[in-house]
């Protein structure tokens, strides 16, 4: 198990290093000059002064080496646009994004597993079809459209929820529902698929034959056995939740790291783009590592495999 974790950590570091090289070079390859964005009408001499102040006048390899040296010490540079250290920018934005992503995940899990299980129990009947229709609709709706529809109905028309920003928990509801909707659809379909399979297993039939109630069979025997496949789905989808947060935070103007990186890309705020990309890549890798390790906790058969 220990060797497995060490191996995964080494892979993770390699991936994060690759992501930092990609983030550093790609944002500089795309056209756009941060100095020109700051002072559109300035002369070349004035732009040169701004570039020198920002440190962007040095050769790119030199900038990269300096960036890596500083990043190792936890210093990700300074945002000229936000007038803050990038570490502070992330520390301010990350809680909003985590709160949004975790709320969306919780929503999707509770509703998705429940509806997926109900669909499996009523396989090929009306309820199953109705739930699957909801899943297909959820998967087909683009987040930016669904978010705007929610704003129009629940903020503009009904006035139940605020439309933008974050000043308290009620600001979280519409963005979380928007972010949850595609994951919800995936979870309904996955839960149903796995649950149908599990319910057809011999041990489930045996449990029913022993006279156990259907509810007991589902909660005691079926649900624990769908956890590992579901965990795989959730693990992959968590990464997409972080990606989806960029769109949802932009629609609702939630000041998380999704909105931060979107604005940073638009105005070529290099230090912020670099740091947030690395953070997101690191988050993705970390989630997947935790999921892999969790398999062992949830399934004794896999735990034995890992310890060999």
């Amino acid at each position: 198990m220990g060797a497995f974790i060490v191996r995964r950590l080494i892979y993770s570091l390699v991936i994060i290093l690759g992501a930092s090289i990609a983030a550093f070079s790609l944002i500089r390859i795309v056209p756009g000059d941060p100095a020109r964005i700051m002072a559109p009408n300035a002369s070349e001499e004035q732009l040169a002064t701004i570039r020198e102040e920002l440190g962007f006048d040095r050769p790119i390899p030199v900038q990269f080496v300096d960036f890596v040296k500083s990043a190792i010490k936890g210093d990700f540079g300074h945002s000229a646009f936000l007038k803050e250290d990038v570490g502070t920018v992330i520390a301010e934005g990350l809680p909003y994004t985590l709160r949004l992503a975790l709320t969306a995940l919780a929503l999707a899990l509770i509703v998705g597993v429940t509806l997926g299980t109900i669909a499996a129990l009523f396989q090929d009947r009306f309820l199953d079809r109705a739930i699957l229709t909801i899943a297909v609709l959820g998967q087909s709706m683009p987040a930016f459209w669904f978010g705007l529809v929610l704003i129009l109905i629940f903020s503009v028309r009904l006035g139940w929820f605020p439309s933008f920003g974050y000043k308290g928990p009620k600001y979280l509801i519409l963005p979380a529902v928007t972010l949850a909707i595609s994951l919800l659809a995936t979870l309904i379909r996955s839960t149903r698929l796995v649950m149908v399979d599990v319910l057809a297993q011999e041990y489930v039939k045996a449990a029913r034959a022993r006279g156990l109630r259907r509810r007991t069979v589902v909660f005691r025997h079926a649900i624990p056995n769908i956890l590992v496949p579901l965990l795989t789905v959730v693990g992959v989808q968590l990464g997409y939740l972080l990606g989806g947060a960029v769109v949802v935070e932009a629609i609702f103007n939630v000041p998380g790291i999704g909105l931060t990186i979107l604005n940073a890309v638009l105005r070529r705020d290099y230090p912020v783009v670099q740091a947030v990309t690395i953070l997101m890549a690191g988050g993705f890798v970390l989630i997947n590592t935790i999921i892999d390790i969790s398999y062992g906790a949830l399934d004794p058969r896999i735990r034995r495999e890992m310890t060999r």
Binding site: P40, S79, A250, N263, L266
Partner: protein
């Protein structure tokens, strides 16, 4: 896996790995970690939004304005030419004089009176008893420091001035500005320059940290892309009618509109024309339209062959139906240009030789240029931006089609603003460019000299005749100057056509009726001192 339980407070990573690790402990751990994270999150402790609540506003109320453009986080007014920053500065700093946008007359602000004591010396008498927001007194030394710094070669604000100003302090409340030659445009350029404290100018790091002006609103905070200001109740012109305001960057136009409709914002910038009916249908809201100082241009890059060919530039100008662009594509929100400056500028005079849509004449000019039906003419690259100026892609596609009809092939490229901006200022890269130019003042040199003088910005246009006319008007006495601009310079520009002025932009803002006095200025700024919030 070894099943061992440890109750030691500190565990090594190895012992953690070896600790009992099953479904139950995982779920318990996750629940505990979530709870701890929620209680200890920086958000729970810092609650940054509480600072922005409007409850402590002594009954006057605070308002929220949403910006369509991000801020540049250096608060040194010299270091940028970004409109969002200029809007915020406008209410925190005073200038020496202000412009009455209706009468085009200058009004005293920090200068109470001014006179040219010599053709190259402007003397200004300053207002007494004024203090900066940090409590330091305002005087001649601050004017000297501000003007010399704001017009120095190394700062971006220099773009608006012909030369670096030399300022002499006569006494505590009198200064003299000396120029190298007569500078009639100076009076109408000074109203775009913020006056800062000398101590701040001498300490650039401090200057970048916050605004410290003498204006009606004081700097309070900047976080999460939001600037907040509070009333300066010691303002020399009397206390503002608002307790404060916040100005927040919200990139998405749909989000800005929803915030206005729900009452979370009082003013939103850059409303798109298709959003207007929704605002007009709401009795609590209104649309504020202002014809601006900004012309939208089809720039011909002079250093990109064959754009040096005047007849080709003229052919293109006659091939485009600008009425159609304004009436159909912009739905009437703009005004077709009939001069190389917008109507609000000094010296503006509608020009009789303005090209009107005439495809037959365009074809004849194209043939005269050496390209009958476009033969022998390579494809021209035309670059525009999408995401900031309204309808650029739509009228860009129309222009592409219109030029195609006379035989000019266009490679039309719509780019996001940062990529477009980098190409816009380069000498080469494309033949035709779409851009706007919104000077903060109404002196014609802010446009004409910037664009067309001796290898001007963006156009790189350099013509002896135009240079001579610009030199002539730049040093003439004010009345003669207007004649030179209206009767000589503007007709010459229409003939030479270094750039085609398409239309004068209309600034469209969405405004809550709770702020009845709000009105955007033609340079897109707003004066909030006399704006009140009526619940």
């Amino acid at each position: 896996m070894t099943e061992t339980r440890s109750r030691k407070p500190a565990q090594t990573s190895a012992s953690l790995i070896n600790t009992s690790f099953n479904r139950r402990t995982l779920l318990k751990g996750a629940a505990a970690a979530s709870g701890v994270a929620a209680l200890n999150s920086p958000i729970a402790r810092r609650a940054p939004w509480i600072k922005r609540a409007s409850a402590q506003d002594d009954g006057r109320g605070t308002i929220t304005l949403l910006s369509a453009e991000p801020f540049f986080g250096s608060w040194d007014p010299s270091s940028h030419t970004i409109l969002a920053n200029i809007h915020a500065e406008w209410n925190c700093f005073d200038r020496l004089m202000a412009l009455d946008w209706e009468t085009k007359e200058l009004k005293p602000q920090l200068a109470e009176s001014w006179t040219f004591v010599e053709p190259t010396v402007l003397e200004l008498k300053l207002r007494s008893g004024v203090t900066f927001h940090d409590g330091s007194p305002f005087g001649a030394k601050d004017v000297k420091a501000s003007l010399e710094y704001m017009t120095s070669d190394q700062v971006a604000h220099r773009a608006w001035y012909r030369e670096q100003l030399q300022v002499e302090v006569v006494d505590d409340l009198t200064v003299r500005i000396r120029t190298q030659s007569p500078y009639p445009g100076l009076l109408y350029t000074l109203p775009v320059t913020s006056i800062m404290a000398e101590a701040d100018v001498n300490n650039p790091d401090r200057l970048k940290e916050r605004y410290n002006g003498t204006g009606p609103f004081k700097w309070k905070d900047y976080s999460q892309e939001t600037l907040t200001f509070e009333a300066n109740d010691e303002y020399w012109g009397g206390p503002p009618q608002l307790a404060g305001f916040s100005y927040q960057y919200v990139q998405d136009p749909g989000t800005r509109l929803a915030a206005l409709q729900t009452g979370e914002a009082h003013v939103i910038e850059r409303v798109e024309s298709e959003q207007i009916p929704e605002i007009e249908a709401n009795p609590d809201l209104r649309v504020d339209t202002t014809l601006t100082t900004e012309n939208k241009w089809l720039i011909f890059k002079a250093k990109m062959p064959p754009m040096e060919n005047k007849l080709l530039r003229q052919a293109i100008s006659f091939a485009i139906d600008r009425d159609l662009i304004v009436d159909s594509i912009l739905e009437g929100h703009g005004r077709v240009c009939d001069a190389h400056v917008a109507p609000i500028f000094f010296g503006y005079k509608p020009q009789e030789n303005t090209p009107t849509y005439d495809p037959e004449r365009a074809k004849a000019l194209l043939a005269e240029a050496g390209y009958p039906n476009g033969e022998g003419l390579d494809t021209l690259v035309y670059v525009t931006s999408v995401g900031f100026y309204p309808k650029t892609r739509e009228y860009g596609q129309y222009i592409t089609q219109a030029l195609g009809e006379i035989g000019i092939n266009i490679d039309f490229q719509a780019k996001e603003p940062a990529a477009w901006l980098e190409m816009l200022y380069a000498e080469t890269g494309a033949h035709l460019f779409d851009t706007g130019w919104m000077p903060p003042g109404i002196d014609p040199d802010l446009v004409l000299k910037a664009f067309f003088y001796s290898g001007g910005r963006i156009t790189y246009y350099d013509d002896e005749k135009i240079n001579a006319l610009l030199d002539k008007e730049g040093t003439a006495d004010p009345e003669e100057r207007l004649t030179i601009i209206g009767d000589e310079l503007l007709p010459a520009l229409m003939e030479e056509m270094p750039a085609l002025p398409l239309f004068t932009s209309e600034l469209i803002s969405g405004v809550s009726n709770k702020v009845p006095a709000f009105k955007a200025n033609p340079n897109s700024t707003w004066d909030l001192k006399d704006v009140s919030l009526q619940e």
